[in-house]
Symmetry: C2
Subunit: 210 residues, 2 copies
């Protein structure tokens, strides 16, 4: 059940709007777009942020390879056209979730600046928060949680970002997380602090801050 | 801010699950799949249901032509393949929203039984609620809110469902709404009653029922 944050909010009687949902949820529907190399920690940080938001009474949702690649985008491969369409669809879905008032976290390599900028352009100023999950490729290779770097080096995976395909660093991301230096907790807290500072989540709802 | 329905719920500490979100929201993440002819009232009923749910403190969201055709599915036309891909993508997005704990309402003609069944197959038993918005084509043509039937009869729109393309009625829909006979309020209330009866929304959250 969603508790009204304020009792002086009256519903205007037309269709339910993004603003109506945001008022009811006590948060803004925004997109936290995590970008970075495979193994940099995008999904891990995104899920840690989701957890913190959930525990604090917020409604957040993570879109990542687990729920997108085998579902909505299962008919896409890794050609440049398919990569672009992959990110386009994710951007559109993230926009829908944000419109629903949900704090939406996307965790995809999204290596091309142009594709990320297209996703940004779908949203209003301030609603798209690009988070560069920075981690040296050597460190990502060392982690190699999914064994993908090994396969890429062996030539089993063609056009692997950071090895045989480019990664275009964000020019002006809203946030940079250095996951080689910072602990997971620290990175997640940095994102939460950003949301609170920008007024995207109600500060008093955050028990960690008390 | 989401208020916990019960205070004896402890969060298990892993990733946030569908069940966690459902507990926090006091509702089940389900898909209400409205299907029927153009002009039958799918979007109108879906938005009326969304309104009722919102006012009762629930989190619901409508996917319809307005937010899908010009966004996620703007690269699809009306060929049989594109119609199938259109419904496939909508089914996958509805699944994501349901996974997020949102009561998800989709309002698309979705004329082919096979396509609807594929959308149903993405969800667990009881999570996909097919709602046949029944209305004689003569009545839909009379309403012709968007002027599409006129264009279809004039041959300006090819393969228009109900005129020059088939509509396959649901064989066993969870609900049938007769929008030619019932008032909008009545149709919307019927959907809410179904959700309450199935325990998909907490009954005591519904002020209309008190």
């Amino acid at each position: 059940m969603i508790k009204q944050k304020a009792t002086n909010i009256f519903w205007h009687g037309g269709d339910v709007t993004k603003e109506d949902r945001e008022s009811a949820l006590g948060q803004k529907g925004v997109v936290l777009w995590f970008t970075g190399l495979s193994g940099s920690g995008k999904s891990t940080v995104a899920r840690a942020v989701e957890k913190k938001l959930f525990v604090a009474g917020h409604h957040a949702y993570v879109l990542d390879g687990d729920n997108i690649r085998f579902g909505l985008n299962k008919n896409l491969g890794f050609s440049p056209e398919d990569r672009t369409e992959n990110i386009r669809r994710i951007g559109e879905v993230a926009k829908l979730f944000a419109d629903a008032g949900v704090i939406t976290l996307t965790a995809f390599i999204s290596p091309y600046r142009e594709d990320r900028d297209l996703a940004r352009a779908l949203l209003k100023e301030g609603e798209f928060i690009e988070i560069y999950v920075q981690c040296p490729v050597e460190e990502c290779q060392k982690r190699d949680v999914k064994g993908l770097y090994k396969k890429a080096r062996a030539g089993e995976i063609k056009e692997f970002t950071g090895v045989s395909a480019p990664y275009e660093e964000p020019a002006a991301p809203e946030l940079v997380l250095d996951t080689a230096a910072a602990a997971l907790e620290e990175s997640a807290a940095k994102v939460i602090s950003y949301l609170a500072a920008k007024g995207l989540i109600a500060g008093h709802l955050m028990p960690e801050k008390r």
